[in-house]
Symmetry: C2
Subunit: 204 residues, 2 copies
């Protein structure tokens, strides 16, 4: 493809993972979503379980608490485990982008790779009705309403993103392409991303 | 086309007007950008000159001043001319959408037509270097820097949009499709919009 790297950021329940998977298959390149966890574990020495719980969904959804946790130093003056996790994640994403063509989901990858001219940054979102349906189909019901699950997960992603990038999550100007998967549907989103990433790029 | 109406919102200098014009030509439907001014003049009784200066670029870029001007009543208790202008513009856009397939640029049309299932809402943006180049080519130099011209015009559009819609301008979730014309180029943006608007729509 003409763009070497595609990053896909997404609202919870928007089908971003499914779209990323299909884009990667169509382009014949690897997908990195939860696949990043074992790489980050190797790099950081942190457990996969800890990474899974904290990588994008800082357990403190309140950004002030997270900020305190992030800046706290360990007992020997080392960065906190949260900062170690983010540093390792950044390093893994940068190395992947240097090494191979790929699709990377979430984890501030759009920001981490913002200076690379060979990256296409995509944001996927949808209206609440489509997201609620997708959440129930993909993840099943829980004791929380889909509305609450969307809010909690998006708030965590928003806070995490804001803290590490100093940017607002979901602003058009931070992405080359943003798509409403509720209206457009999964397949059309896949097509639009592949078209944006592969044809000749003008005005570069 | 499958979508009857396409609204195109745009950062100043992003080439949004050019893209809208080419999309309209490709689909064989009329374009409404400054063309709306004479319609609004007929509907409101306001002069075309007044409309041109105030329709999207409220002369008070400070939103508080604009708010005061908007809510002020005329001497006989009628809405202010600014409110009359917005009301007439809304009416013209709603009537157009009922009457014919078309492409409409700016003027909160995405918000005014937000409930229509037959509308596709697009946002065009670009990095500052591309926008500066476009501004100089399209509108020529003035005594202000391109940076200042971008900021002034975008601030006015943002304030106008926020005041009338209670939404943030340029948030992904308010559009079905948002595109970076700097990276993608004008032609690719046109293609992506036409593709999004015309093929069969899934998940509706």
């Amino acid at each position: 493809m003409d763009k070497k790297i595609i990053t896909i950021s997404r609202q919870f329940g928007s089908g971003g993972h499914t779209i990323a998977k299909e884009v990667a298959e169509k382009l014949g390149v690897p997908l990195y979503d939860s696949e990043l966890i074992s790489e980050v574990a190797k790099k950081s020495g942190l457990s996969e379980e800890f990474i899974r719980q904290n990588e994008e969904y800082a357990s403190h959804s309140n950004s002030l608490l997270y900020q305190i946790a992030m800046s706290a130093m360990g007992s020997h003056g080392y960065p906190s485990v949260y900062q170690q996790l983010y540093n390792a994640q950044t390093k893994v994403i940068e190395e992947l982008a240097d090494r191979e063509e790929c699709v990377i989901v979430g984890r501030c990858a759009d920001y981490i790779l913002r200076e690379r001219p060979d990256a296409l940054h995509v944001f996927i979102h949808a209206d609440k009705a489509h997201r609620a349906e997708h959440i129930l189909t993909q993840y099943g019901p829980t004791d929380k309403s889909t509305e609450q699950r969307m809010k909690e997960k998006d708030d965590k992603r928003r806070n995490y993103y804001r803290f590490h990038t100093n940017r607002e999550w979901g602003l058009c100007e931070n992405y080359h392409l943003s798509l409403d998967s509720g209206l457009l549907g999964i397949e059309k989103c896949v097509d639009l991303i592949v078209t944006a990433a592969t044809d000749d790029f003008k005005n570069k």
